[in-house]
Amino acid sequence: MKKVLRTPISDSDLDGINIGDVIYLDGIIVTCRDVAHRRLIEFGRELPVDLKGLAIFHAGPIVKRLGEGKYQMVSIGPTTSMRMERFEKEFVKQTGVKLIVGKGGMASETEEACRTYKALHCVFPGGCAVLAATEVEEIERVEWLDLGMPESLWVNRVKGFGPLIVSIDAQGNNLFKKNKVLFNERKDKLVAEISEKVKFIK
């Protein structure tokens, strides 16, 4: 059965969700990336959207303007989450956001935030931006348009938004970190093997 989270998300909604699980989202997800994180954490500017219990999407979409305050989501895939690692722990603490969606892994600060404040980091398959756009029912509003199309805060109402692959769960387990240990073990052996065959300077 499909596991679906609905906003507002409570701490107990995250019970029993583990890394590697695939989940979906119904409700509100707000795009929030580099500059929005910087404005809140470094410059102390209040976010124009209350994210308590909601989801954020590390994403910068292509949006078509249909008329005054009316927009269509054309293409919206995830961006590299690791760029927000510097800010994410404090961001989760200050906003009460429950679900962070992006691509690639995040590191120890975000793990700690997910464990302490109960939240998840999930991967939406990167590059699958039209798939994601078709799961956006409506753009409810947009804030901080001065940041330009990719960096603005787009407030999306979504249905069956996913697949979302859980990369950090609310216990702080980290799928990418686990995978990376394995990748690094394999790497060292392979580098040694290949190095023997490329001694062209001799």
């Binding site: 961006t79 590299t80 990167g126 990748f183 490329v198």
Partner: protein
């Protein structure tokens, strides 16, 4: 005299198409890698990727939201007329495609830190020129350099004592640390030369080579295969979630080095490798080499 408006219009339409449909060689390679996956998570990620490409074609939308900073690598025949007008026409084509396709607004001005929404600006689009003696054609490689796959890009200069062994380690370290987040399976471009900017430029040229082509030097070709097989054994899988492969390919381009230095540049292309090749003759008849059967 070429009809500059016509040229601009064709390039703009080609750019738009190249953001919606992947080149034939990439689609073919992805199908091959998809078929070789065995784990349920890797398989389902590939399913999403193929579903996405189908939706992008059906709905006529950019398949990835990050349509990049546009790069043109131009092979200019010395007999092609009006070469002096090409750069401005390419810039106008980007402005037009940004509206018509649409493309995401991606050019941020350095220092001023403003994005004016045009996708052009200081040295944007980025244009690189090669002159082709004895040709009256104009070959344009278009590339959408997205942020995700530009992020792992790096270059370093080693001392010769590090050898090609140093390059191998550098490539593997970069792939595990950074490639994992750059939407694998990746196309890995490596430039080897005597200074970082030479190596970097060559690493970008390397990812514009069609998949399946090999470095002309037998040792170069061997090193490509060794790295390709080795990186696949690391098993990054689609999106770095682990699987039976990591890369679509490894391409190496090289230039003679200085005796004291060995520089290496790395650039990767994500699975949504939006490269396009179009060739114009002097009457602006064109042939699309990367996307067979595509109508503009």
């Amino acid at each position: 005299m070429i009809d500059v408006d016509k040229f601009t219009d064709i390039v703009a339409r080609f750019l738009a198409v190249s953001g919606k449909i992947l080149p034939d060689d990439v689609t073919e390679k992805l199908a091959e890698l998809k078929a070789a996956e065995t784990g349920p998570l890797a398989k389902s990620v590939y399913e999403s990727m193929f579903e996405n490409q189908q939706l992008a074609a059906e709905l006529n939308r950019p398949s990835c939201q990050d349509t990049g900073v546009i790069n043109f690598f131009v092979g200019a025949g010395d007999g092609f007329p009006d070469l002096g007008k090409v750069a401005e026409a390419l810039k106008q084509a980007v402005i037009k495609a940004t509206i018509d396709s649409p493309l995401r607004h991606n050019t941020v001005a350095i220092f001023d830190e403003k994005n004016d929404g045009t996708n052009v600006g200081e040295r944007a689009p980025f244009i690189h020129w090669d002159i082709i003696p004895g040709s009256d054609k104009l070959q344009i490689e278009t590339y959408m350099a997205g942020g995700g796959c530009s992020l792992p890009g790096r270059a370093v200069t080693f001392m010769p004592s590090a050898g090609y062994e140093g390059i191998v380690k550098y490539v593997f370290d970069t792939m595990v640390e950074w490639g994992i987040n750059a939407c694998p399976p990746l196309l890995v471009g490596i430039g080897i030369a005597g200074s970082v900017e030479n190596a970097s430029l060559l690493s970008k040229k390397a990812i514009l080579r069609p998949l399946g082509t090999r470095n002309p030097n037998p040792r170069g070709a061997e090193m490509e295969i060794l790295l390709e097989e080795g990186l696949n054994k690391v098993g990054l899988g689609p999106q770095g979630l682990s699987g039976n492969s990591s890369v679509m390919g490894v391409h190496i381009e090289s230039a003679a080095r200085h005796p004291s230095t060995i520089s290496v540049g790395i650039n990767v292309g994500c699975w949504a490798h939006r490269r396009g090749t179009i060739v114009f003759d002097k009457d602006l008849n064109y042939q699309i080499l990367s996307h067979k059967g595509v109508k503009l």
